[in-house]
Symmetry: C2
Subunit: 326 residues, 2 copies
């Protein structure tokens, strides 16, 4: 391993777009994925950990430790898993092997998360791609965690855009609003990559054709999983065959490959009521009319606009990744 690479722990509910994010990060030469923790969301945490290992082994990275995390939110019962979005096997029924050599770690997600943070004091970056339950539990278990970790980049929420699971709320946050509130209130720097940008970075039939043409295990998988995703998003959102790649956009914001064209520090409050706004990330974007100057109270950096070209980059990178591994 190249120790000059930035250590990243990914907390995820793998999922099609989580898989895209993982593969994208593994293809990034400046990043070392040092650990992965799973959480309920797109599927059960146990299934998501298994899916993670499937993805890792696809590109010869089965040695990265994967730990199973929370199976439900901090408060109240688990009410929903997004299994319909991600297929029977949780990865778009795209033909990825369901048997693996590696197995999830014997550590819990919280144990792996705290241990990894201590191994990289001040350096570890966390990419959070599911409900924020594991991070909230880890903050409870190690109150200094938010001083040990460099920063947290979160795919989640909606600023000026509508939600997806409800008109007001995005799925990762509405799955566990109380956890999201704790994570955003902690002392670590936080970056939010909300639906405002993830819904406008769109994977198209053209991208799928490029992925198929690259003809590597990872590109074949992402092509097939994207087609599955198209069926859902084409019907539910866009009215044409295409899809977002939510979590992968957050990965690229973490690496710096995507630099949002609007990226202010703003105050974010999570709606933890039982009202119609439950799970909303209320972002104080009132500075929009003056170009976002002068919001000194803003603690979370929020990606409000990107240029829509990330899927082009992702397709290119995924082709390079598999070429290296074969």
């Amino acid at each position: 391993m190249n120790s000059s690479r930035t250590p990243v722990l990914v907390d995820c509910d793998t999922g099609i777009d989580d898989a895209m994010a993982l593969l994208y990060l593994l293809a990034c030469p400046t990043i070392e994925v040092v650990a992965i923790t799973s959480v309920f969301g797109n599927n059960t945490a146990a299934r998501c950990a298994h899916n993670t290992v499937r993805v890792l082994e696809l590109v010869g990275c089965g040695e990265i430790p994967v730990a199973v995390g929370a199976e439900g939110p901090l408060v109240g019962p688990l009410t929903y898993l997004a299994t319909h979005v991600h297929g029977t096997d949780g990865l778009g029924d795209a033909g990825l092997s369901t048997t693996t050599v590696a197995q999830p770690s014997s550590l819990t997600a919280v144990e792996l998360l705290v241990q990894t943070a201590r191994q990289h004091p001040g350096a570890l970056r966390i990419l959070a791609l599911g409900p924020l339950t594991n991070l909230a539990h880890a903050l409870q278990a190690e109150p200094e965690l938010d001083q040990l970790v460099a920063d947290v980049v979160i795919m989640g929420g909606a600023a000026d855009a509508p939600g997806n699971q409800t008109p007001a709320a995005e799925a990762n946050v509405v799955h566990d609003p109380e956890a999201a509130a704790q994570v955003l209130a902690a002392r670590w720097p936080t970056t939010l990559v909300p639906l405002d940008v993830t819904m406008t970075e769109i994977v198209t039939e053209g991208h799928v054709a490029q992925l198929r043409a690259a003809d590597k295990p990872a590109t074949r998988f992402v092509a097939a999983a994207s087609e599955f995703y198209f069926d859902h998003y084409g019907f539910s959102s866009y009215g044409r065959r295409c899809s977002p790649c939510h979590d992968a956009v957050a990965a690229a914001v973490l690496t710096g490959d995507v630099v949002p064209t609007s990226f202010p520090f703003i105050d974010v409050q999570v709606d933890c009521t039982d009202g119609p706004g439950r799970g909303a990330t209320i972002c104080d974007t009132r500075g929009r009319y003056r170009g976002f100057v002068g919001t000194p109270e803003g603690r979370t950096r929020v990606a409000l606009r990107t240029d829509g070209t990330f899927p082009d980059l992702m397709v290119k990178r995924l082709g390079e990744l598999t070429a290296v591994d074969e």
Copy 2:
């Protein structure tokens, strides 16, 4: 009076932009302003009724009945009046006479509203420019009111835009969320003209210069009141000397002079919790990614985008109004 004109009742908390809306409507040849009711908001309902009479007499319309309405919300105490936005005299300290010949009606706002609706069955349009308390009280007093009235056009709320009084909520709605919820749930057709459009129809120094050049009582008043408004909005919102003209935009949507370029029927829920989203108008704008087709459950027509040219039209019309009256 020309009986072919459309009868409109204006419910307002006059206010600089309410005054602009009233003057704009009075200048509109297809509209007959048949009654005006006042409500707390920009000031007390009593002061807002007095301000309304001041504006009417400026253009020789003191005969239009004005009734005083609610001095506080349906639920809980009155916590806030926007007096700082509208000046000591409530109309931008723009030199408008504070003595009037006409006086407010001996009827209450609810009595005048119900009486006026009965006089114009199926024809009366309501333009609501303040908290929706009077309309909620009137629905209680006359349960058939929402069948008697043609429709209600509301300046209020925020769809994808941020709020103004809080990050989530616009002032008219947050002043009385329970009333707003009742008004939007009633059977009359409702149109919402939210901050999404009112914050982007901007009165500039150039408009003020045109108003001054017209040199009529109404244009001199609106010019001076706008300058006062600039001081507030330049500092609080835009970072340059200019202002919105919120209520006047709603008036122009009612008349059809402004036809929003995005104007879907969508589902709107008012947040009546005590959480950080209290007073938010949660608009289901998830159809945005497919061009707003297929939201059959949407009952409220929401103005999401206009072209920004309304202040040009307003300035022109106000010049015509005073020319007729002198």
